[in-house]
Assembly symmetry: C2
Homo-oligomer: 346 residues x 2
DNA sequence: ACTGTCGTGGGTAACGTTGCCCAAATGTTT
DNA sequence: AAACATTTGGGCAACGTTACCCACGACAGT
């Protein structure tokens, strides 16, 4: 049972002594600051390598930067978010920044706690994916720490946003289904509990896009929305309600793939087959939509690209906190697969 | 374009002044340390609430604890890991600890960088899920920071481990298939590039468990393992190779659900149907295995429980760094669904 | 009344890093 | 040769928190 020797961490002072320069000099070399000769840089780098020195993020945080960026995801089990995250990390690969992910933020209160804890840890910037906090609270946060908001359709002077054009995305689905001959097209939305930000949330915009597209196609009377959550469970119970209608819909458009999976469960349970008896479409084009066993028609919103753009904007804002804010809006595209087909002849 | 006032952060000094006590007193109250009267606690709590004070993790880190725990996951797109993570966060909900996730660690080098960056950030402890670093390196890390290793079948004096009994899990699958009448059962394993830790990795143990179970059933001559990775792509190419055999297997056991999904893709592409022409089984029992469209037979290794145990062990080790190490081994169970059936009559 | 003991509170020096300043040496212009 | 600019390096004081001490008063036991 060897008890390990508790070695003291190598600090900048050790490096300075070993290289026979001042700590200031080492610090300058570390940050490529002005006022270092090539000879000194060489000595310092050698000493760093010899001693295996690594700067303490805590000490740096106390002085300013930590080279840490935080990403908040609402639901880690939703396979769309890993794609966004991969875009973020890919953009940051060549930089000194480390990304840390704060998981499990269900609801406004948990979200606030999570964001606070990222601020407490002196992160240099944060990316919030589909946050549910009120607009004013987001502005407040962005005043404290550089912030990029993903998914919310908001415009602010102090934070940047990256979002998909959800109105267009919903229209893609409705148009596709109408062209196949469907008229009774129902939608499952994600119901926001917080009324303060309803009109900005992507889920609400998707539902609105669905309504607009239906009206545009002269199907106002067929509009049928059930409110659940973007989860498998939400899709399942929503679909059960829809399947229980006297006139059941011939197509169900779920606002997220994860909900569409629940819809497929319910449809299978009801003994119906897809797409013969009923068509199903999702949103996000997650990897699971593309599995041969599922083959779900879905709207692709380029999660990777969203993440990459968010990371880029965040770096820009960290570099210049007073720069004008940017709003990136990406166009979705429809990926047609095997869960949508013409409605059954009657 | 209102430029926000850059408010200075509220510090312990502000709280102390507002409550008319010393900073030491405030610090004591914050940590429930000895030497505080109820009256003082009351005053301090009031001041904290009035000012909205939050301790700086950076400053705390410089002195010792940061109340931050790190979790490293090898692949965030693998849906098994979110389940483990949920177990971790659930155990920590009632504590002051915040969990941060370090994503994207493909390969030994990226893994080392990620772990280093967690150490640099003075985290109080880390949970490493299926790390690929050599054993000696893990011991070195555990000497620096309290560490729990998930998935590796290792025993160390200074770190704790939580793992599934992969030998038993593989046997569950083989036995199930044999009892259905299969003989030509192939396995897709995850090939480790690092030879230093091969015998400890869960993937290698699953493959070994497969071999043992096959021998035990008198099917040594039928053993057929293809080496890929636990990804959808790996499952896909592995299955294509197996389907191209002169005598193709009647069942494929993929070492992970995510690989099994790729197997299903390849089987569908080959125009075969599951389970009529070929049976498929996975490992992990991820949510996607349970989707009605997939309905994959899989080994459940209780990801949530694994995460919960890992978090518990980590807290115990943080509390007492010299306590004896523990090895938790969880028993897997088989969940039979619709991708396994008797082999086709010939 | 005199010593201990306990409960309560505060003073102070780190922890590791960096931004601001100044000093010395070197180079350049008048 | 003097005045000035530039380069190169270092000293020092924070940043916010906590561990370790010590001081004071109250109270009990001799």
């Amino acid at each position: 049972m060897a008890r390990p020797v508790q070695q003291r961490r190598v600090t900048i002072v050790d490096v300075a002594r070993h290289a026979q320069v001042s700590t200031t000099a080492v610090s300058k070399v570390l940050r490529n600051a002005y006022g270092t000769s090539p000879a000194m840089r060489q000595k310092v780098h050698q000493a760093i390598a010899d001693l295996g020195y690594r700067p303490s993020a805590a000490a740096r945080g106390l002085r300013g930067q930590t080279y840490t960026l935080g990403v908040m995801v609402p639901d880690i089990a939703n396979p769309f978010f890993p794609e966004v995250l991969n875009g973020v990390t890919a953009s940051l690969d060549s930089t000194d920044y480390q990304v840390l992910l704060a998981p499990g933020c269900a609801g406004e209160q948990a979200e606030a706690r999570t964001i606070d804890s990222m601020i407490d840890r002196s992160m240099d910037g944060i990316i919030l994916i589909a946050p549910v906090s009120p607009r004013a609270h987001l502005e407040h946060i962005a005043g404290i720490i550089p912030t990029v908001i993903v998914g919310r359709h908001a415009r602010s002077a102090i934070f940047d946003t990256v979002a998909d054009d959800d109105i267009a995305g919903a229209a893609l689905v409705v148009d596709h289904l109408v062209e196949l001959g469907h008229r009774r097209i129902a939608h499952i939305e994600h119901l926001e509990t917080e009324p303060s930000c309803i009109e900005e949330m992507p889920n609400m915009i998707r539902a609105e896009g669905y309504r607009i597209a239906m009206r545009h196609r002269g199907l106002e009377s067929e509009i049928d929305v059930v409110s659940r959550t973007y989860t498998r469970e939400g899709g399942y119970t929503g679909a059960r309600e829809l399947l229980g209608r006297p006139q059941r819909p011939t197509a169900i458009f779920a606002g997220a793939d994860i909900a569409a999976m629940g819809v497929l469960d319910a449809v299978a349970e009801a003994g119906l087959s897809v797409p013969e008896d009923i068509s199903v479409a999702g949103y996000d084009n997650t990897t699971f939509a593309s599995f041969s066993q599922v083959s779900l028609t879905s709207v692709d919103q380029a999660g990777w690209q969203i993440g990459a753009d968010a990371a880029r904007l965040l770096l820009e804002r960290i570099a210049d906190r007073s720069r004008r804010s940017a709003q990136v809006k990406l166009s979705p595209s429809l990926v047609v697969r095997n869960t949508t087909a013409p409605p059954p002849a009657r």
